[in-house]
């Protein structure tokens, strides 16, 4: 093994990253109001080329990355998706496609399976067709996704269904799990909305009441038991109602890297919201160099950056003070404790927001995610 250079003050025993999430493009036909992409989306002209992406995956595999997550936007919006999958398989990466399904055809799914795709994750917005299409902002999306699920399983690929839970579908959380089973999913992710980016913009329209959240959580936990061996349920519970924060990303710069469509490398997808962080790009640096030395990755590694109540807290090695982006969004400073923690002096802000989220009835009004199209040059 080559010794990593490491900048002064960087942790000495930095392991290899486990996963690389590639946002191949920000283009997407859907407009989901909780999209985790940033508010300022990268345009097509600035996206990395096929050759640039294959270089990234070669470097990642060499560094020890195990999982390659091909995401977006909608990764199928890229015509070179199959070539990218084939390359990932070639360099030994476990390759996971994270897709809305829109833009895939039966032939394309077969090509992806042949190219060596290991797994596909398909998003579902709701178990009710009309509601699902409204959430996605795309008519016919629900029906199309049913077909895509069938193509995926027929191609022999393992399927995970992913659903983001919020006020408009939280009553049907159990139905969504059962739909995932009937679509042939081996695994389902039930993820309560996290409020960053578009999700933060739409928080008032998305956040369920505490009682709605509790009922849905209990239902999913019961289904975990009754459906054991049938489908694996990964459950991301809403942290606005929690007592301790989540160990965001398994710790900052500890497990994975995110590469944006234009090649910026982030410790997490929302990291660009934190002012003052310097992100390096794959157009100028290698993945290995970035992993070890990027100022953004080193900013919140270890414990030196922590303030009270985190600094003296026995849980600091469990949850690492929670999410830096949420600390920033709610306290104005990314170095503070995640206010989800009941020990945070800003915890009242969370309880206040959670208490306000009473359902007013009627369809929520969304600000849909959309790309700002460039004006014609003339």
């Amino acid at each position: 093994m080559t010794a990593s250079p490491g900048s002064p003050g960087s942790p000495k025993k930095l392991g290899a990253p486990v996963a690389l999430l590639a946002e191949l493009t920000h283009r997407c036909p859907l407009g989901c109001p909780y999209c985790s992409n940033p508010l300022a989306l990268d345009s097509r002209e600035d996206e990395l080329s096929t050759a640039e992406w294959t270089k990234v995956f070669s470097q990642a595999a060499k560094l020890g990355v195990l999982h390659a997550h091909l995401s977006g936007g909608e990764p199928a919006s890229r015509q070179d998706l199959t070539d990218i999958v084939a390359h990932c398989a070639n360099v030994g990466l476990y390759t996971n496609l994270i897709t809305s399904g829109i833009g895939l055809t039966e032939a394309r799914v077969k090509d992806l399976a042949r190219a060596g795709l290991d797994h596909a994750q398909l998003s579902i917005q709701d178990s009710d067709a009309a509601s699902a299409d409204r959430i996605a902002g795309y008519k016919g999306a629900f029906a199309r996704k049913q077909a895509v699920a069938e193509w995926i399983t027929q191609a022999g690929l393992p399927l995970t269904i992913n659903a983001v839970i919020h006020r408009a579908n939280i009553f049907r959380t159990g139905d969504i799990v059962r739909l995932a089973v009937s679509l042939g999913g081996r695994r389902v992710e039930i993820a309560h909305t996290q409020y960053y980016g578009w999700g933060l913009v739409n928080r008032a329209a998305l956040m369920p009441s505490r009682s709605e959240a509790e009922a849905a959580i209990a239902e999913v936990e019961a289904l975990k038991k009754s459906l054991a061996g049938v489908i694996v349920i990964d459950h991301v519970i809403p942290d606005y109602h929690a007592r301790y924060p989540k160990a965001c990303m398994g710790g900052w710069g500890k497990r994975g890297l995110n590469v944006t469509p234009t090649g910026k490398v982030l410790p997490c997808h929302a990291a660009e919201t934190i002012p003052g962080l310097v992100f390096w790009t794959v157009r100028e640096r290698s993945i290995e160099d970035i992993w070890h030395n990027s100022p953004a990755f080193n900013a919140f590694r270890g414990e030196d950056w922590m303030r009270e109540p985190c600094r003296s807290c026995p849980r600091k090695t469990i949850d690492y003070g929670g999410c830096r982006c949420q600390a920033l969004a709610l306290t104005g400073d990314a170095r503070e404790a995640d206010p989800v923690c009941h020990l945070s002096p800003d915890h009242a802000k969370i309880t206040e927001i959670a208490a306000q989220s009473e359902d007013e009835g009627g369809a929520p009004h969304y600000r849909y995610r959309h790309m700002k199209l460039r004006e014609p040059a003339d």
Binding site: A16, V18, H67, Y94, D118, H119, P158, T160, R186, A228
Partner: protein
């Protein structure tokens, strides 16, 4: 769960489904079982078991082979194999 006691039966042909891969990782110098969003460290015993789950060998044959190869107690080996396969099957990481 009661079913864990009896399954898999002796003629089952366990197999890692597509999407679950045993990989020797040269960066970390260890065997890993890769699955959707999961990386599971596998000890030497588990690796020997998993290498034999090729969809053609029966559960009984795998146990016989392991007991013979490692001159190990047959009953103990059977319990180990059963426990591992059941654990993975519950996570949808093994087809029995």
């Amino acid at each position: 769960m009661t079913e864990e006691v009896s399954s898999p039966d002796m003629i089952a042909k366990p197999r890692l489904p597509r999407g679950v891969r045993l990989k020797y990782d040269e960066t970390r110098n260890e065997w890993l079982l890769l699955a959707p969003e999961r990386v599971i460290k596998t000890d030497a015993i588990a690796v020997e078991i998993l290498k034999r789950c090729d969809g053609t060998a029966t559960f009984a044959a795998i146990v016989d082979d392991l007991a013979q190869t490692f001159s190990a107690d047959h009953t103990r080996v059977e319990a180990d194999v059963r426990a591992l396969l059941n654990e993975l099957a519950a996570k949808r990481m093994m087809d029995l």
